[in-house]
Amino acid sequence: MKIKTIIDVTKAEILQKNGITDIDIKYAFAADLMSDTLFIISREEEPVLLISGITDQSVVRTAIILDIPVVLIVRGKTVPQKTIELAKKNNIIMLKTHYIMFVTCGLLYKEGLKGAPWQKR
């Protein structure tokens, strides 16, 4: 799924557009707890979309560590300028939608995004 499709489907607004824009995203992962996010360590090199309600800088840092190119913030929260700047510096695209997390996930799943491959441990 192209980033443009994600924006259309979730009626998202672009907070930060520096980054790899021409990627085809196949998987998504939604979590508010960063430790839970760290659990997806896929062996595949497919780009993953991170859906989260956290607006702190830690969401960007998590994305950097996990090589996640796009972060989608849900519930229309105001994202602090510091977070956006950090994302800009590290080439991580940031989007924001007004839908709640459940609806966001549902809409994207319906459009064909799959859950990020995780390892049962």
Binding site: S35, E45, R61, I65
Partner: protein, 275 residues
């Protein structure tokens, strides 16, 4: 060729929630630079292996977050050598009151501030333990904690393997199914060939297929412990009825083939590669 070891060291301040993750990101950058620019690391086949770097990153992030959430100050030391990366986090702080509790998923003593930032889910140490290839935790109440973890170079063939359904394997290898009423939809990612039970217990990967000529009752016990879903018996050995009954009871599939272990192993290896 001369061996080289690189050591990076960063201080971490306790309760510095604003910069949580910075040390990890800096360390990661340095490792990446070492991998791409320095001769002695370049020759190693893991260069560019993002999985390797990511696994280290996750462990480092969790360890760093632990220091920021719980301790007063700490030191993060990374030792990078050709085949492994070692992380060492030593802190001065209250220590862990109960290590057993701390290792239980979901248990957390993190403050509300930490929780509001998405940390303190109580899975940190557990995550490190699962992802790293080696972990050592030492804590003294009232003094501090030291955590060491290592991430080893992944074997190339481990990365390439993908899961295969058991029924596909049985079909492709033309095996004869011995057990009845068992779940054929289970998946396996690798296989292990050995007749010595203790070797299987020690070395076989959990949830992999097992190839052997042994047909006594004990193989079922071993398979149950190692969560092996399928035992492939080679050279058409006869399997005692009790073993079959016990396998069915435990939901383990037994299939047998005419060829010897070497031939079946070879075919199975090809199957995993092809997928």
């Amino acid at each position: 060729m001369a061996k080289k070891i690189k050591i990076f060291q960063f201080p971490i301040r306790g309760a510095d929630f604003e910069h949580i993750g910075n040390v990890t990101i800096e360390t990661r950058k340095l490792i990446k630079i070492s991998f791409t620019e320095e001769e002695c690391f370049k020759n190693e086949s893991f260069v560019g292996s993002r999985d390797f770097l990511r696994r280290f990153g996750i462990c480092a992030y969790e360890a760093e977050a632990n220091v920021i959430i719980h301790a007063y100050y700490g030191l993060f030391k990374t030792i990078l050598c050709c085949k492994r990366i070692k992380g060492e986090v030593i802190d001065r702080g209250p220590g862990i009151p109960s290590i057993l509790n701390a290792l239980t998923p979901g248990f957390s003593t993190a403050s509300e501030t930490a929780k509001s930032l998405g940390f303190g889910a109580g899975v940190g140490l557990n995550n490190i333990q699962k992802i790293a290839d080696f972990t050592m935790l030492h804590s003294e109440k009232g003094k501090g904690t030291s955590l060491q973890f290592e991430v080893w170079k992944a074997k190339d063939n481990e990365i390439r393997r993908t899961a295969m359904k058991i029924k596909q394997i049985i079909k492709a290898l033309k095996l004869e199914l011995v057990t009845k009423n068992v779940d054929m939809e289970k998946e396996v990612k690798s296989a292990y060939s050995c007749d010595l039970l203790s070797n299987v217990l020690a070395k076989a990967e959990d949830e992999s297929a097992w190839l052997t000529v042994q047909t006594n009752m004990n193989i079922i016990g071993v398979a149950t412990i190692k969560k092996i879903p399928i035992i492939i018996i080679s050279e058409n050995s006869t399997i005692p009825k009790q073993a079959i009954a016990k396998a069915e009871e435990n939901g383990i599939i037994i299939a047998k083939g005419n060829e010897d272990t070497f031939t079946i192993s070879g075919k199975l290896y090809e199957l995993f590669q092809k997928e």
